[in-house]
Symmetry: C2
Subunit: 485 residues, 2 copies
Amino acid sequence: MAWDPALEAAFHPKVVAMVGISSDARPGMRRGPGGANFIISYEQLGFKGRIHPVNPKATEIMGRKAYPNVASIPEPIDLVVVSVPAQALPEVLEDCIAANARNIHVFTAGFEETGEAERIELGHRVREIAERGGLRIIGPNCMGLYIPSGGVGSFDRLPQESGPVAFVSQSGGHLNWFSHYGQNYGIRFSKAISFGNAYVLDSTDYLEYFATDPETGIICMYLEGVKDGRKLLQQVRTINRVKPIVLWKAGLTEDGTRAVASHTASLAGQEGIWRGFFTQTGAVPVQSLEEMAEMAMTFLYVKQPPGKRVSVIGLGGGTSVASADVCNREGLDVPALTEETQAELKKFIPIAGSSVRNPLDTGLVFRNINDLQREVELVTTDPNIDMLIIRPHLDMVSAGDSEDASKVIDYLIDICRNNPHGKPVVLVFHSFSNDPKELEVRLRLQVELPGQGIPVYSSLNAACRALFRLYEYHRFQKALTTENL
Amino acid sequence: MAWDPALEAAFHPKVVAMVGISSDARPGMRRGPGGANFIISYEQLGFKGRIHPVNPKATEIMGRKAYPNVASIPEPIDLVVVSVPAQALPEVLEDCIAANARNIHVFTAGFEETGEAERIELGHRVREIAERGGLRIIGPNCMGLYIPSGGVGSFDRLPQESGPVAFVSQSGGHLNWFSHYGQNYGIRFSKAISFGNAYVLDSTDYLEYFATDPETGIICMYLEGVKDGRKLLQQVRTINRVKPIVLWKAGLTEDGTRAVASHTASLAGQEGIWRGFFTQTGAVPVQSLEEMAEMAMTFLYVKQPPGKRVSVIGLGGGTSVASADVCNREGLDVPALTEETQAELKKFIPIAGSSVRNPLDTGLVFRNINDLQREVELVTTDPNIDMLIIRPHLDMVSAGDSEDASKVIDYLIDICRNNPHGKPVVLVFHSFSNDPKELEVRLRLQVELPGQGIPVYSSLNAACRALFRLYEYHRFQKALTTENL
């Protein structure tokens, strides 16, 4: 399937039919997911088109005229959202065919993923109807779409702002988590799609769309299985060169594979094959939503580092040792600063209880904006160093003068934005104190700064992992370019 | 060194000399660590003995008579705490010898860890004086002691309550973090010691003390290097049988080894040798303070599981897949529940959008206390299952009736305490919503419940890692017993 104007219509629909909304649905109700919650979510996102509820037992639902079926809606339908019980799905799909409505988001679950013979058979019937009618089914067994620019959503209180990140997910729960928590990582979405059992449209179809979607610059994927692995491999290899692809392939362990069967009934595939997939495509592998969010944040806000030699500025000798271990284990190098840099640093860093080699154990600089500036300048001009992780110690920042404290935070924001001397600078906040007020400050900084384009990581491990993957991504692309010359 | 009454005197001192307190020290001042901060920390912890400041330039410091030197203090001294600059240390130690004060906590840093020739030489002189005078030096370059039962501490606002966990740390920063954050994991300390460069007393000496210390039941260690590796191995192997030893050996990577040299100037040793150490001793390996705290919490509050087959109750099919992957990767098995259990569960769990195999994707039970109880009872009596991880979904808990919500939390606390059918139950809170209020509830539960003896983990990975290590610990001990028959 090449770029599909029908998909575009589904993503920015003018007219939506919602089938399976309870006749007693009212705004603000909280039941299970699906049904009237879709209307609520669309409304919250400022959907500008028309929504037509379909329910043969109602004449009006949530202030809208209800229709007995899709075919009786008196205008062309861009998208149908179906929340009926599984047994009723075939009839609804026949209705859609009669109405010439082709784009169908099927929320309805309860097919082959249950493992029960009659429901597996029901799934076969649904597939047959879809094929016969040329239906473009998103799902079944999925939460469907979150498209802020189209006013389309599946969950409560989703952010209204759009951004350049696309998410293709075989799990609705992951879509829920990512579309809510993404903002804590400075992530806004172009389009996010949960596609469940993938009866018709599969990850490769969505990927093809995102390859040319002008709204999308970074693509995140959560996959349990894929129908056409070879196609996915070729697509990812090509698209990844232009739009970084962050991919979580789940269900690769023995018990994970079994869990996939219970969830989307996909074939999970073998770990070795998928390892080869990443080697050949250069896609960025992650293993959790947090890692995925951190990686998307990294592509959004961290410049390409010239190499993988990192410097770490923090407080504490034990912390320095742990930092060096973590960096090394995640693939980064922590070389000693040059003798010249060390000599310059020793001019204002006391020798006892500190270290200026690397990692730098120089906590007092977090109390003194001048020393901090001088240190960062020296480290980022050091020829041994390609990037810098700063671990501001909140006990130290807040122990200083409060005017200094806010200057320190402002300065840190500034250098993270500006990549001094072409070297990325990122933050990991740290604290010894268990004071609830300090914890609150830390959480606030951690959540607010990424929204301003500042890469803040929840832990040093997370920062190193993301920076190494960023380095690897660019290294792979460079090797591809050389190969093709 | 066998059990040492002198060490006991140092840990519960009646008379302490503090050398190197500024003459202008006053309560509430916040400078760098050391000096008057020791007096403040002792006072905060309700120290019942007498503190004598030593400073030849003062007659009174912080309301106490100041003495020109240690020898002029007119009573026997149980512990000397030294915060003078490195160059002044030899003279202070001679003074201690003259005063017949043998237990010395040397906060002073700036010796071989600086890498500078004259300071290496200074370190040699200090060692010679210590040996000649029979001084039991804790340090130098260390934060020293945190002993709540003795009113002895090094940091601001330390918890006053004692508990069964000992911490032996070559890093003062780690001591600071652990003694503050430990309470979030339900951890209280018998004695925590930071011992820095270990001129005289090394980890093996402290370990020997803790082996017979009636206050101590679990021993945590952070080591950068060790002088007598063979001795440590024999000790750990023996003591670990009675008191679990959780050990973080840092500095095993290339850059970590270099960082150790800059910190405590220890020899870090090779990774392979330390791998053998863990295999032979059965000590529990960790690689961060968080892991150490989680492991101590686990030994405190989680019963020995009969095996390593885990069940996970949560919400979301994608989350179930990820859960199975995580459990498997951390060493646990996630078998399907028996057909009988599944059949019983299907009587009240809807088939569509759920799974009752394992992991259980049954989010609605978090809204209904009866269903939750019924499910937990079925899972914990299932012969395929040895332990249970519950991931209460706060969105679901709070979406239900608020009376039900508090019943759900109470019930979860109850089953975690009671290990139904001899099977441990632990919690990992989860949430889709980014609502600050819900985040606050989650953080509060995560921090408060461990203080009540409820094992709550920050992530599923953390829970699996700790449970697998707990299983491995008991398996090792059982194998040792069989071996010795």
